[in-house]
């Protein structure tokens, strides 16, 4: 029986080995993932046992835990609704969202990088103190974006194209996170339900989770695809009719002015972008084909979520379209859907010589004794196009602002590259208004995307250039100090 018993012993050993492996998987390898799960309330309980770390902008707390007299010992205090799209909320009853959720393990001091602090806390008997998260946000730019949007529903995302650092991120209407961090359950729940029920839908994050039809700003993506393919140049010309019947259908499309795009019988891609004409882009899109556009869109980040460290919604370029749908999608209609963050990434890629940097919101994480726990360094997201293509697309975008229909993005004394968009959302629905661009065009310091939802309160009479471009212009000026 000895041989059999040996084998039985081996089987027992393997059974236990699997338990060692599985518990290591849960308690060490997966620990950070599990503690970040929204349904895990332990970190919330923990945070009331220890002082949760602050969220800082330029060294000033925009969210911090202050002492309270009740059993929770600390309460979360938010500085201003201006940052609600970034911080999210941290609530006993509603869990957490935004950065509060994405950086939770650091804020509570439970991240594996805080191991030595945990050990020293274990030995000294003191509670672990949370890490403080310093953001890449520039408070002046954030304020400019906040003020410029006014009371319109919409969002602004501003990036540093060279690093991917997020300089401003605003979503409006905003909300006061203090309403949800109160310790009284009835108040917190009532406030939450009120925010949920509000018609203006303040809890939607319009900067990185809501999707919008891009309209003409998508022409930047199609232009890039065409030029980067090597088959087209900015001066490649297309027929210039006033109406174009969509292939395989009897419906026709028009340019936004309902006329031709300039007076000539043909029109260049550069002029079509400058004057934002739909018909040349419809022809260009069908000519290069949806696969080329889809590949280009993917290089810009379409179809992917981005962790910055919150997780964005993936923008959509539809697949399996017929030629009519391809034509419509080429000027940002049909089922193309984007987040403002995505459009800021498109501009940032063009601005940075075709190299797209991964968006990032965290400058550094500090431990309670101010040593740096984590300092994300700039990461390349993709090489979205060649440097040569980037220069050509940039020049086309400069033309759109300097001599075209995107003129309200212009800043005196600075060369601005940009593109407006005015997307239709179906019959009778208000338009979605856009501007995306960067400045200074020859040495970009900021790439920006602005979306104004619900037509900016003007139904179908508002335009991207009239409502969104001025907002973007103010944001860029704030960055440049002009």
């Amino acid at each position: 029986m000895k041989r059999e018993l040996k084998r039985v012993s081996i089987v027992i050993f393997i059974m236990f080995l699997s338990l060692f492996v599985a518990s290591t998987g849960i308690q060490v390898i997966g620990a950070d993932t599990y503690s970040a799960d929204q349904r895990n309330v332990r970190s919330i309980y923990d945070s009331y046992k220890t002082q949760r770390g602050a969220i800082l902008v330029d060294g000033q707390p925009i969210a911090q835990s202050v002492k309270s007299d009740d059993v929770y010992r600390y309460t979360r205090r938010y500085d201003s609704p201006m940052y609600s799209a970034i911080t999210g909320f941290f609530s006993i009853y509603q869990g957490s969202t935004g950065l509060e959720s994405a950086m939770n393990s650091y804020l509570t001091g439970q991240n594996s990088s805080q191991f030595f602090e945990q050990i020293s806390a274990l030995l000294s008997g003191n509670p672990v103190t949370g890490g403080a998260v310093e953001l890449t946000i520039n408070p002046k730019v954030q304020k400019a974006a906040w003020d410029a949007l006014g009371d319109k529903a919409g969002a602004v995302v501003a990036l540093d194209p060279k690093t991917g650092n997020i300089l401003a991120m605003v979503s409006k209407p905003a909300w006061d996170a203090n309403l949800l961090s109160v310790h009284d359950g009835q108040t917190s729940n009532a406030n939450y339900n009120k925010l949920l029920a509000a018609k203006s839908a303040p809890l939607l994050n319009r900067a990185y989770t809501e999707l919008y039809a891009p309209g003409s700003v998508f022409k930047i993506v199609v232009s890039t695809a065409a030029i980067d393919s090597g088959k087209y140049q900015p001066d490649s010309r297309f027929p210039n009719p006033a109406k174009l019947t969509l292939p395989g259908t009897t419906t026709y499309i028009q340019n936004s002015g309902e006329g031709r795009c300039g007076s000539a019988t043909t029109v260049s891609i550069a002029d079509a972008l400058r004057l934002s004409c739909n018909i040349p882009f419809a022809q260009l899109g069908v000519a290069i084909g949806q696969n080329t556009i889809a590949d280009q869109a993917a290089k810009f980040g379409f179809g992917k979520t981005v962790k910055f460290p919150m997780t964005s919604t993936a923008s959509i370029y539809p697949s399996n379209m017929d030629d009519a749908q391809t034509a419509l999608s080429s000027f940002g209609q049909y089922d193309v859907r984007v987040t403002p963050l995505q459009m800021a990434m498109v501009s940032a890629a063009v601005a940075n010589g075709g190299q797209l940097m991964k968006p990032n919101l965290v400058e550094a994480v500090y431990s309670s004794n101010l040593s740096i726990l984590n300092q994300p360094s700039p990461e390349v997201f993709s090489q979205a196009m060649s440097a040569d293509t980037a220069a050509k697309v940039r020049d086309m975008m400069i033309g759109a602002v300097a001599r075209g229909v995107s003129g309200n993005g212009a800043i005196p004394g600075v060369s601005v590259a940009g593109k407006t968009g005015t997307a239709q959302n179906g019959k009778g629905e208000p338009y979605t208004l856009w501007f995306t661009g960067f400045a200074p065009a020859n040495n970009p310091q900021v790439a920006v995307a602005v979306v104004i939802a619900n037509g900016g309160g003007m139904g179908q009479s508002g335009r991207g250039n009239s409502l969104a471009a001025p907002v973007a212009q103010k944001v860029m000026r704030a960055v440049l100090g002009k």
């Binding site: 029986m1 039985v8 699997s18 849960i26 308690q27 332990r42």
Partner: protein, 455 residues
């Protein structure tokens, strides 16, 4: 002058070396338990109070009595089994006491600690009785068929009308006059005795295999009879008691013993194939079992998480263990009560949270040591019945530990079994301490050169 001393008969004295080792280890075990209990009090009450002795002394006292009995009646019994069992049982009591303090602090009233201590005392007393009144390992062999009837009876008891109870979807309990009991825990001992006795008499004929097909020696049809019977019985348990774990425990035990007795791997292959097929078919037709499978494979999907009897408990347990991380929160420092049944089915998640991966490994190593001491008896004992009995009882502990902790850590689907010696629950304590008693009793009769030492 003749040497007087040389002519005297030699004085033969038994040196209870094993017992001296055991005494030392017991002191150590009691010390660890005292340390755990004081940590619990300091962490939650922030002061030590004499209530500690209520939880520390009764098991310690019983352990000393067991030790004394063994010095007189089983001086060569294995020295590690009792200290390991005590340390595990004490750790369970400390964690249950800790959960009680948490419950009381939160305004709850349902406590388990004192009950657990009482059951521990009863269970250890029964273990002592086993060592005293079961005179030799061969005694049990006389009752092989009686054991079968007792085992089957206990197994089927929860299905009886009036006394059978369904708790959390599994029909594993009986309830009489307000007391609940899990008879399956005791059935595993009776069935091990039966399997060991039966296989010792039948091993020769079971070992004869028939023709070779595809390189495998296929057992003769009539030798498959008992396997089919046990397989059918475990499926009946699965279907009627609705618990995969219990069913797997008995069947796994049987297969391992058949293999150990006959040395024919074909029984393992055939048995496992039959069991897996049966379980898969059952899970297809029984929503409850199928649901547990789905919760096991996809616990984090919102639908499973929200489902009644879904993965909520499993996920919360995983969150708890992850919360503990490598070093744990310390006893009393975590929030284990967020997991339903933190004191019984999920006590390992509570301990994983508060003692961390380090503590988890320590607990697993303790079980592994306990089981290896039992298997060692199987290796060394001269008598085949005792070999099989010790192997079977040790394997039952190993398999049950694997099924329970594996269920909590997602190695296998979650079932309704309890962690041996740790979890709150009288039936489980009683059964496992009886196993400890029987293992100690058998280990004493290994014999060999080290039984007596000439001075």
């Amino acid at each position: 002058m003749t040497n007087v001393a040389a002519n005297l008969p030699k004085i033969v004295r038994v040196i209870p070396r094993n017992r001296n080792i055991e005494a030392l280890l017991l002191l150590f075990a009691i010390g660890i338990n005292a340390f755990e209990l004081s940590q619990v009090q300091l962490s939650i009450l922030e002061v030590l109070n004499p209530e500690i002795f209520l939880y520390l002394l009764p098991p310690a006292f019983l352990a000393v009595i067991l030790h004394g009995i063994m010095r007189l009646r089983a001086s060569e019994a294995d020295p590690m089994i009792l200290p390991i069992a005590l340390v595990l049982n004490g750790l369970g009591i400390a964690e249950i006491y800790r959960l009680d303090l948490g419950t009381l602090a939160n305004g709850g009233t349902e406590v388990f600690g004192v009950k657990q201590v009482i059951w521990t005392v009863i269970a250890m007393a029964v273990a002592a009785a086993v060592i005293i009144y079961v005179p030799s390992h061969l005694f049990l062999r006389r009752y092989v068929y009686v054991s079968m009837f007792i085992g089957v009876g206990l197994l089927l008891a929860p299905m009886l009308p009036f006394i059978g109870l369904n708790i959390n979807g599994a029909q594993l309990w009986i309830g009489v006059a307000g007391f609940t009991f899990q008879p399956g825990e005791l059935a595993k001992i009776a069935l091990t005795v039966f399997f060991a006795g039966y296989l010792v008499t039948r091993r020769e004929s079971l070992a004869i295999v028939g023709r070779k097909i595809f390189g495998l020696r296929i057992p003769r049809a009539r030798e498959l009879g008992p396997i089919v019977t046990i397989w059918a019985a475990s499926l009946v348990v699965l279907v009627l008691e609705r618990d995969l774990g219990t069913s797997l425990l008995y069947f796994g035990l049987f297969i391992v013993l058949v293999y150990t007795a006959t040395g024919r791997a074909i029984y393992v292959v055939v048995g496992l194939t039959m069991f897996i097929t049966g379980a898969l078919v059952a899970s297809r037709f029984m929503g409850y079992v199928g649901g547990r499978f789905d919760s096991w494979l996809n616990p984090f999907t919102q639908a499973n998480y929200d489902a009644n009897g879904g993965s909520y408990q499993l996920v919360q347990g995983i969150f708890g263990m992850a919360h503990g991380g490598l070093m744990g929160t310390g006893l009393g420092g975590g929030i284990p009560h967020l997991v339903p049944l933190a004191e019984s089915d999920f006590i390992i998640a509570s301990l994983g949270e508060e003692l961390g991966l380090v503590g988890m490994f320590a607990i697993l190593v303790l079980y592994l040591l306990l089981v290896s001491r039992g298997i060692r008896i199987g290796f060394n004992h001269p008598d085949d019945f005792s070999k099989l009995l010790a192997t079977g009882l040790s394997f039952v502990i190993a398999l049950q530990t694997f099924i329970v902790i594996g269920g909590v850590t997602r190695v296998v689907p979650l079932t309704g079994l309890t962690t041996p010696l740790l979890a709150a629950g009288g039936s489980s304590l009683l059964a496992n301490w009886i196993i400890i008693g029987v293992l100690l009793r058998i280990s004493d009769s290994i014999g060999g050169g080290n039984r007596t030492v000439n001075l």
